[in-house]
Structure formats: structure tokens, C-alpha cells
């Protein structure tokens, strides 16, 4: 089994939804209302074929003259004259003026076929555009001949083996006014330009593609300075990579709250909060930190202009201007009501593809929500976030919530798509409004469950612990108050302790002095005793000597032994 051969169009996104391009060697019908971009799509098919795939093309125009076409496409950056000079393109304008022509019998459209064949052969064309062949129906009255000839024309195109685009104006109940789809049975693409709530959106749908799988949805597309781009942003699936890398939030204390390291790379972060809670400031910190690491950031601002944001962020000590100058930061400013949601998606897609950022900020996402219904927002956001995750781009979205019932709304819409959800809240008490920050959720990391007070200072955002005491959660000046009070109490306590310590010290000294005195007294008494003993001994000795001397004087026979000596002798003898 050989697969259907396809001719890539080179148009951004179209090859993806057609799974490779238009059927090779066959005609494709592009139909749609006025001004929906049929001619542009057809011409871009040829231009891209010529420039990217080296396939020359023939453009047969039934409406615009070649110099008109050249001028119109010059504004899109396509230099048709250059391609014509290089023999990569031939424009053949078929002039049809019914008032000039008279039908006088039987005829065929061999002239057209010969011109087409000549055009194809002269540059060996692989691609052909007929824009809009329906003009023939107004030029010739004999429809029977015309239809037979059209059939022949399409057969001729197939025989030539060229990949052709036929454009057709949308009919009332049919795809084309004259039923061209009858002849072109292989591939039919329908372009649509709808206005909903005064916002116009261009969409494309592949009605039919014989022998090939194709996306069946309506895809939004964009026509801008670079031509046509289709955004096949749906059904991307949930198989995006999950990085373990963490990136700082730009606020050290917030990193601590998020498991100490910050967000996951490639995750989606939602910052909800009422007006004036500092969502954009938090986003600016994130951007500042990312740019300081040398990463590229894309900032979609739907409320403020670039200069306004840069000026405002100066007031909290963040210089975003330097990153813009260094080319690391790009702002995309647009009012949310400028175009429809799908268009926003397409524009953002395109900007991301061109800038290759590693971080994206959408500020605020709620403005987009206002332009469409909830279901649309959810589908748009999920496609956007899927896309960003595929590319491993960290997305930070801010969400301006109204005071009442804000959380529920965000919950329905997008919170389930978000990996990390920070909530900024006004804590109002004692005539004061203070900002509080919670981590509502953060998938895949342990995170703090504490409320932190969020302070915008000249040096940026600071997070402080709130006072949680008997009287509840205190913030701002009442927290300061309470802290001062606590401090005073603590000081008091400290002083008391010191006082007691000094007391003890003094007591100790007194006791020690007493001990010394007693010791001294004891020593003195001990000395007295020794002295007494010595004195007694001396007295005894003297007494003995006296007695001996007396005995000598009395001339006694035998000197009687002193009492003590006798006693000692007797004791020694008995032993």
C-alpha cells in the first residue's frame, strides 16, 4: 500500500493539519466568503513552493491583474516580480468581459487549457492556482458547455500531474456558488470569517480530504506581514515532558515557601488576586530573575503598555528596561478586545515561535476571559498551556479576580490547568489594608501552608511572617504594634531575671564572706588550743625539773621518776 503523496504547502500550520500538505497531483478546492483570504492562501502556496521547495507555479487569475497582484503581495513581503524573473512563477491574468464577447455557435475552452498548458510547460510548473475559476460562469452563458469544459480542465490538470488550488466563492447553501466541489473531489478546505461580539476571527476547516487523515476542527488562522499562519493548537495530548528543574520565583522568601527552590520549569503558575494586590509586581520579579539568569522572557500585557510597566516596576526597584535593551525580554502589548480569543491564541503562538522564550507571562489572563464564554476560555487556555508545556516554557499568568466569588470562577475555568496557584489577598483590619500571600496549591512539591504578609518596598517584594496570636492574624501596623508589645514584655522579663541573678550573686558573696569569717575564727581557736597545750607541757617540764632540783636539794636517795615517765615505763613493761 502506497500512501497518498502530498505536496507541502510551506504554510505554517497547514501542513500539520493536513498531515503533510495537499494531495499531490490533484486539485484542491478552497472556498469561503469574500475577504476570507482565499487568494492569499493560494498565492502563498505558490510562493512558498517556489522559494522553499523549488517547485515553480502558475497563477491564473480571473479577477486581479498581475500588476495588482504584485502590488498586493508586496505588502506581505512577497516579491512576485523577482520570482517571475527567476522563472519560478507565472501570472496569467484572464480577462473576461461579457460585453465584449458574443457567442456565435459551438465552442470549447481550449484556449484556456492551452494557456494553462503553455504556462505550465514554460517554467515546468508543479503547482497551479486558478483564482477564481467561477468568473467563467459570468463570462459565458452556455452552462452546459462550461461544465463539460470544467470537467475537462480538471482532468487536464490531473494529467499534467500538477498540484492545483482552485478557489471558489461561498454559495448560499453550498460550498461554492456554482458547485465546483462537484469537480474537485479530493480535498476541500473551507475558510470562514466570523464576527462574534464585534470581534472577527478567521477560521479554516478541512471539509474533506480523500485518502488522508486530517484535523477536522475549525482552526483559527492569521494573516499578517508574514502571510498566512494556521494554528493547529488542539489535541496535543497530555504527553508533555516534566522537568525536575526548579527555577526561582525572584522572591527568595517565596522560594522558601515553595519547598525552598521555587517553581518547576515548564509548569504553569497562576497568581490570583483582587485589584492592587501586586500580581504584576510578582510577575515582574519572576521576569527579572529569569532575565538575570540569561533566559528569554515574553511578556503579554493586556492592560498596560510596555513603557508603563517598565516605569511602574522602577518604583519597586526593578529595571526591566535593561532586559528589553539586551533582547532578553519582549513585550507584546495588545488590548484583549482587539481580536477574538482564538486570534489571541494564534498571535501568542506566533510570538512564542519567533522569540523562543523560556518564560512567558500573561498579564492578566482574566481580560481574555472577558472576551469569550467560559467554555471557550477553558479550551483556549488548555491548548495554550499544553503548547507551553510541550515547549517546556514556564508560564506565569495573573488573574484579576473580583472581590466576591472570585475563587470559584477561576476554579471553573483554569485552576485545574495550573500547577502552582498563588493567591494574593487583601487583609483588612483596623482601618488598614494589607496584602497577604498564600500558596493555594503547588503540585509536586511540599509547600508552606502559612499566610505571609506581602510588602512592596523600594527594594522589591518582601514577604514577612504575619502575627498569629490570641487575637488572630495580625498584619501591617497592628502586627508591628503587637510585635513591639511583645518585645517590651520580653524586655521586662529579661530585666527581672537579671535582677534575680544579681540578688543571688550578692547572697553568694555574703555567704562566702561568712564562711571565711567562721574559718578565721576556727583557726584562731585552734591556735589558742595549741598554744595552751604547749604552755601546759612547758609547765609540766618545768615542774619536773623543779622537783628534781628540790630532791637534789633535799638529798633524797633515789630521784623519784616524774609521774608521766613512770606511767609510760609501766605501760611499756606490761606490753
Amino acid at each position: 500500500m502506497q500512501n497518498l503523496l502530498k505536496t507541502p504547502t510551506g504554510i505554517k500550520g497547514l501542513d500539520e493539519i493536513t498531515d503533510g500538505g495537499l494531495p499531490q497531483g490533484r486539485p484542491t478546492l478552497i472556498c469561503g466568503g469574500t475577504g476570507c483570504g482565499k487568494t492569499l492562501l493560494a498565492m502563498e502556496f505558490l510562493v512558498r513552493g517556489a522559494t522553499q521547495f523549488n517547485e515553480p507555479g502558475v497563477f491564473m487569475s480571473f479577477e486581479e491583474k498581475s500588476d495588482e497582484l504584485t502590488k498586493n503581495f508586496a505588502s506581505l513581503g512577497f516579491d512576485l516580480n523577482e520570482l517571475i524573473d527567476q522563472n519560478l512563477l507565472t501570472i496569467d491574468h484572464v480577462h473576461l468581459d461579457p460585453s465584449e464577447i458574443e457567442e456565435t455557435g459551438e465552442y470549447d475552452l481550449e484556449g484556456l487549457l492551452i494557456r494553462l498548458g503553455f504556462g505550465i510547460d514554460s517554467i515546468d510548473a508543479k503547482r497551479v492556482v486558478l483564482d477564481t475559476i467561477e468568473a467563467l460562469f459570468s463570462g459565458f452563458s452556455n452552462e452546459a458547455i462550461l461544465r463539460a469544459e470544467l470537467r475537462r480542465l480538471f482532468r487536464f490538470l490531473k494529467d499534467k500531474g500538477v498540484t492545483a488550488i482552485i478557489t471558489g466563492e461561498q454559495g448560499e447553501s453550498t460550498f461554492t456558488r456554482y458547485g465546483l466541489e462537484e469537480y474537485v473531489a479530493d480535498c476541500v478546505i473551507f475558510l470562514n470569517h466570523t464576527v462574534y461580539q464585534q470581534i472577527a476571527t478567521r477560521r479554516m476547516r478541512i471539509v474533506k480530504y480523500r485518502g488522508s487523515a486530517h484535523g477536522t476542527n475549525e482552526y483559527p488562522f492569521l494573516i499578517d506581514q508574514q502571510g498566512f499562519s494556521v494554528m493547529p493548537i488542539s489535541s496535543l495530548g497530555l504527553d508533555h515532558p516534566a522537568s525536575n528543574e526548579r527555577i526561582p520565583t525572584g522572591v527568595p522568601r517565596l522560594d522558601t515557601m515553595l519547598g525552598g527552590k521555587g517553581y518547576f520549569r515548564g509548569s504553569s503558575i497562576l497568581i490570583s488576586g483582587t485589584a492592587g494586590t501586586g500580581k504584576s509586581s510578582l510577575a515582574a520579579h519572576f521576569v527579572n530573575a529569569a532575565c538575570a539568569r540569561g533566559e528569554r522572557c515574553l511578556y503579554f500585557a493586556f492592560e498596560e503598555s510596555q513603557n508603563q510597566i517598565i516605569r511602574n516596576m522602577h518604583s519597586i526597584g526593578i529595571d526591566l528596561g535593561q532586559w528589553v535593551e539586551q533582547g532578553l525580554l519582549q513585550f507584546q502589548n495588545a488590548r484583549a478586545t482587539l481580536y477574538g480569543l482564538e486570534m489571541h491564541l494564534v498571535v501568542m503562538h506566533k510570538a512564542i515561535d519567533q522569540f523562543h522564550p523560556s518564560c512567558v507571562v500573561i498579564d492578566p489572563i482574566s481580560n481574555l476571559i472577558a472576551t469569550a464564554s467560559e467554555a471557550e476560555v477553558k479550551s483556549m487556555m488548555s491548548r495554550m498551556i499544553d503548547y507551553l508545556k510541550m515547549k517546556q516554557i514556564t508560564a506565569l499568568c495573573t488573574d484579576l479576580s473580583s472581590i466576591s466569588g472570585s475563587l470559584e470562577r477561576a476554579e471553573i475555568n483554569i485552576s485545574s490547568l495550573m500547577d502552582t496557584w498563588l493567591l494574593l489577598q487583601i487583609l483588612e483590619a483596623r482601618g488598614e489594608r494589607n496584602r497577604g500571600l498564600y500558596v493555594l496549591k503547588s503540585r509536586g512539591m511540599s509547600h508552606s501552608n502559612q499566610v505571609r504578609e506581602f510588602i512592596l518596598s523600594d527594594d522589591g517584594i518582601q514577604l514577612r511572617d504575619v502575627y498569629i496570636g490570641l487575637s488572630g492574624v495580625l498584619t501591617g501596623s497592628s502586627r508591628d504594634n503587637q510585635e513591639a508589645k511583645d518585645l517590651a514584655e520580653a524586655l521586662d522579663c529579661q530585666q527581672q531575671i537579671e535582677l534575680r541573678q544579681r540578688d543571688i550573686e550578692r547572697k553568694k558573696l555574703a555567704i562566702e564572706a561568712q564562711i571565711l569569717a567562721l574559718n578565721t575564727q576556727f583557726e584562731a581557736e585552734k591556735d589558742d588550743l595549741i598554744r595552751l597545750i604547749n604552755k601546759e607541757k612547758l609547765r609540766n617540764d618545768t615542774l619536773l625539773l623543779d622537783r628534781q632540783a628540790m630532791a637534789k636539794l633535799k638529798q633524797a636517795d633515789k630521784p623519784s621518776a616524774p609521774l608521766s615517765t613512770i606511767k609510760n615505763n609501766e605501760l611499756g613493761a606490761s606490753k
Binding site: E103, T104, G105, Y107, I114, G119
Partner: protein, 126 residues
């Protein structure tokens, strides 16, 4: 705009005269016809168209016509130059205005009227 019409008032009157004179002249003068017939090969249609145009020229324009017969198979670049879509196509290049007749040229009356050879064209019958 009003100025222009004011200025051109006298010429309008005279232009009517000029027109009438021209009409008279036209009747009197033998105008030269330059005709080109584009055919695509020798098909029955081509053959008939060639026969028909030659018949008309010989009968009505004898001596004051130039007829080119071009086969666009052999000279396809002519088809683009002369804006040929259908075949056969007869182009009256002169006298002005330029007119094209497509088909095998079998409706002689219609062609004569279109070529302004006979004055009053028959009302086209549907």
C-alpha cells in the same frame, strides 16, 4: 465638475454634428477590417469557423479586410497575449471597438451585426 460642464457646453452641440458627419463618412467610406481568428487545431469547430469567416469576408468585406488565422496549439503565447479563453475565437481588432466572437461563427446575422457590417442588428432570440 460644474465648471467642466459649463466649458464643454458648446463642444457638445458641435460634437453631435461631428458624430453625424462621422456616421455619413462611415457609410461612404470603405473601412478596413483587421480580423484574427484563433483556432485550436483542426477540429470540426475550427473547420466550420474558418469556412464561415471566410465566407463572410468574401461576401461583405471583399478587398478591405485582413484575416489572420492562428492556431494556438502552434503559437500558444498568442493565446495569452490576445486573452483567448474559448476556441474558436474571432477578434475584430479594427475598426474599433474591439469585439470577440466565440464559437463556430455559424450565426451569420449576429456576426454581421457585431462586425457592424449591417446596420440594424436583429433582436437576439433566446
Amino acid at each position: 465638475m460644474t465648471k467642466d460642464t459649463d466649458n464643454s457646453k458648446p463642444p457638445i452641440q458641435s460634437s453631435t454634428e461631428v458624430f453625424e458627419q462621422a456616421m455619413l463618412k462611415k457609410e461612404l467610406q470603405d473601412e478596413h477590417y483587421i480580423l484574427r481568428l484563433f483556432v485550436a487545431g483542426i477540429t470540426p469547430n475550427s473547420q466550420r469557423a474558418i469556412d464561415n469567416v471566410q465566407k463572410i469576408c468574401e461576401s461583405y468585406l471583399q478587398g478591405r479586410y485582413v484575416l489572420d488565422i492562428i492556431d494556438i496549439y502552434q503559437q500558444p503565447s498568442y493565446a495569452k497575449q490576445s486573452q483567448i479563453i474559448a476556441a474558436p475565437t474571432l477578434i475584430k481588432e479594427l475598426p474599433l471597438p474591439l469585439r470577440k466572437f466565440i464559437g463556430d461563427l455559424s450565426k451569420t446575422e449576429q456576426i454581421l451585426a457585431g462586425l457592424e457590417i449591417i446596420k440594424k442588428p436583429p433582436q437576439p432570440t433566446e
